[in-house]
């Protein structure tokens, strides 16, 4: 029994203060973000479908020249007009999408895998390998991508295959650097140390512990990179050192249309618009993925 006095003191009683009523939230800003994301997703899906099966939408041959119907503005006959050689703009733009997306996906995958392998290994192993790898990364980053790509394409000649290789070489360092810093922080985490204590080989640790945790950042970076590569490819094609003719690429279409900027602006405008919409949706998707997958990731890349 308690040894303090148990005599009950005189209690006065009064009701508790009522809580204020709260209204449910309006969540207006979240609504806006969701609409953005859905739009970007929709655009991406449409583009991918166009790229895979352009024949479903366009019936005309994008390379078919018709000198009698050049420089026509958008009409019922040609929904997006014709260019200086009478080619149908709609089909050229759609086939251009296919080329650009194909090139971008290949280049991003190649650059990403190469960069991530180097980065993760350098981050985890450290030492001499890391030092050398980072110097090479510095070199690639020391040269603006456009200039490096220009010189490389100028050296090996323009072809689709060369283009993809060149775009990858001008781009992998970004992946290497980011994955390296992820690997560095992961290296000291407890679950990795436990693995080492258990005797797992270094390759095994890299593949089964480090890599899966880096995947999230990698996906975000890769999605954002698609936009960057599409822009880079378009720039090269514009300068004549990208996708070789007669295959249509948005960049080369814009270059063709340059002299008709005043008279037939749609030759530049339509592919330009497509370019912007594509890159825009890739960027929005990348941002949404970043918010979803790794909300604490650094925002500098």
């Amino acid at each position: 029994m308690p040894d303090t006095t148990t005599a009950l003191p005189k209690l006065t009683r009064r009701p508790a203060e009522p809580s204020v009523t709260v209204l449910p939230p309006r969540s207006r800003s979240r609504y806006g973000a969701r609409v953005q994301l859905l739009l970007a997703l929709a655009v991406a899906i449409v583009l991918v479908m166009l790229a895979i099966a352009p024949g479903l939408v366009v019936q005309r041959d994008p390379t078919a020249i018709a000198l009698g119907a050049t420089l026509q503005p958008p009409s019922a006959e040609h929904w997006l007009g014709t260019d200086q050689l009478g080619r149908d703009m709609l089909s050229r733009v759609v086939y251009g999408a296919r080329i650009s997306l194909f090139v971008a996906l290949c280049a991003v995958t190649l650059a990403g895998v190469l960069g991530a392998l180097i980065g993760v290994t350098a981050g985890y192993l450290g030492g001499v390998f890391d030092a050398i790898a980072m110097r090479v990364v510095d070199i690639q980053l020391a040269l603006p991508a456009v200039i490096l790509a220009l010189v490389l394409v100028g050296a090996v000649g323009p072809s689709l295959f060369n283009l993809i290789i060149v775009l990858s070489l001008a781009n992998w360092a970004r992946f290497a650097r980011v994955t390296r810093s992820e690997a560095l922080t992961l290296r000291t985490r407890d679950f990795v140390l436990l693995s080492r204590l258990a005797g797992a080989s270094r390759i095994r640790i890299i593949l089964s512990h480090i890599a899966p945790n880096v995947v999230n950042t990698f996906i975000v970076l890769a999605t954002l990179d698609v936009g960057i590569i599409i822009i880079l490819e378009a720039t090269l094609s514009f300068l004549g050192l990208g996708v070789p003719p007669p295959q249509p690429s948005w960049g080369s279409m814009i270059a063709d249309g340059r002299q008709y900027l005043e008279t037939a602006w749609w030759i530049c405008g339509i592919p330009g618009l497509m370019l912007m919409v594509t890159v825009l949706s890739a960027n929005l998707l990348g941002d949404a993925l970043r918010d979803w997958l790794s909300p604490t990731a650094s925002r500098n890349w």
């Binding site: 800003s29 020391a142 040269l143 603006p144 220009l150 514009f238 300068l239 050192l241 890159v279 500098n300």
Partner: protein
């Protein structure tokens, strides 16, 4: 701090050297310049003789070493196209490019930083919405597209500014804007997020607790901390701007290094290409170094480490 500067200088030098090596190798693949230098009716034997005179028949490593030696003495070879020292040609084109790139950077900072600051103070306000659209559009298109858009709009339709050329501020405005929009977008986004993080920090809370006026908190306390990552970002932007300058110079007929590189590649003038890229890498490394030094000075944690 001195040791930090020296270490950084050493790193930059190594990087630039390696860059020259790589460019040297790549450019060798461009092609045989003797086609350009001799009249079409020259025979293969003539070409061989010229190659021998130019030293092109020696092993690649020897060629590189002698190139390096000449480089250290400021000799970057003779341009095959202009028959003048390549370095001279590159330096001549350097001025316009630096002017363009720095104008674009200045515009980027002048637009991006204030926009980012205001957007972070009134998050989700109308300035913030506008800034988001501005940034998103700016990062969705390459500079060459903006160049054409501006030409069409301001030069052709409205007739306010010339379509190309070099000489007055009117010639500079459109290229600088087209080139700078992308940078302004990135700078704005970074400023906004950096400023937001700083405004939520404990030391800003303490400044408010102290009773420091809000204006002083924003512009003296918060901004200084928020701009630190922006400084580093700006040095990265310089490389992006130099790359973008290539297509912008091409469109506006701006007599800069970018246009020079394009012309030299199509003309197989590889000495000029080499010289241009080497000079570019040097400048880029110098800018990075300068920015790193500024950053080390501003952040006392590095200054006194």
């Amino acid at each position: 701090m001195i040791s930090y500067i020296l270490k950084r200088m050493g790193q930059s030098l190594v990087t630039v050297l390696l860059v020259t090596l790589i460019i040297f190798v790549i450019v060798r693949l461009i092609g045989d310049p003797t086609h350009l230098m001799l009249p079409p009716e020259a025979t293969e034997a003539d070409r061989d003789l010229l190659r021998q005179q130019m030293g092109l028949d020696r092993p690649v490593l020897i060629q590189y070493l002698s190139y390096l030696g000449a480089l250290l003495m400021g000799d970057m070879g003779i341009s095959y196209r202009f028959a003048r020292p390549a370095l001279e040609i590159v330096l001549g084109a350097l001025g316009p490019t630096l002017l363009l790139a720095s104008s674009a950077l200045v515009l980027g900072v002048a637009i991006g930083v204030p926009l980012g600051v205001v957007a972070s103070i009134r998050r989700d306000g109308w300035v913030d919405q506008f800034a988001k659209v501005f940034a998103v559009v700016g990062q969705a298109a390459p500079p060459f597209l903006f160049s054409l858009l501006f030409i069409r709009l301001f030069a052709i339709q409205l007739g306010w500014l010339p379509t190309s050329g070099y000489g007055s501020w009117k010639n500079l405005l459109l290229p600088a804007l087209a080139l700078g929009w992308y940078s302004a977008a990135g700078i704005m986004r970074l400023t906004r997020s950096s400023m937001s993080d700083v405004l939520d920090s404990e030391y800003i809370k303490l400044a408010r607790i102290k009773g420091v006026p809000e204006r002083v908190i924003l512009f003296r306390h918060a901004l200084r901390n928020a701009l630190l990552p922006v400084i580093t970002f700006i040095s990265m932007q310089f490389g992006v701007l130099m790359g973008g300058a290539v297509s912008v110079e091409f469109i506006f007929a701006w007599p800069g290094v970018g246009r020079l590189i394009i012309d030299s590649i199509s003309n197989l003038d590889y000495t000029t290409v080499q010289a241009a890229v080497a000079v570019g890498a040097l400048i880029f490394a110098a800018v990075n170094l300068a920015v790193d030094i500024v950053y080390a000075y501003v952040d006392p944690r590095i200054r006194y480490a």
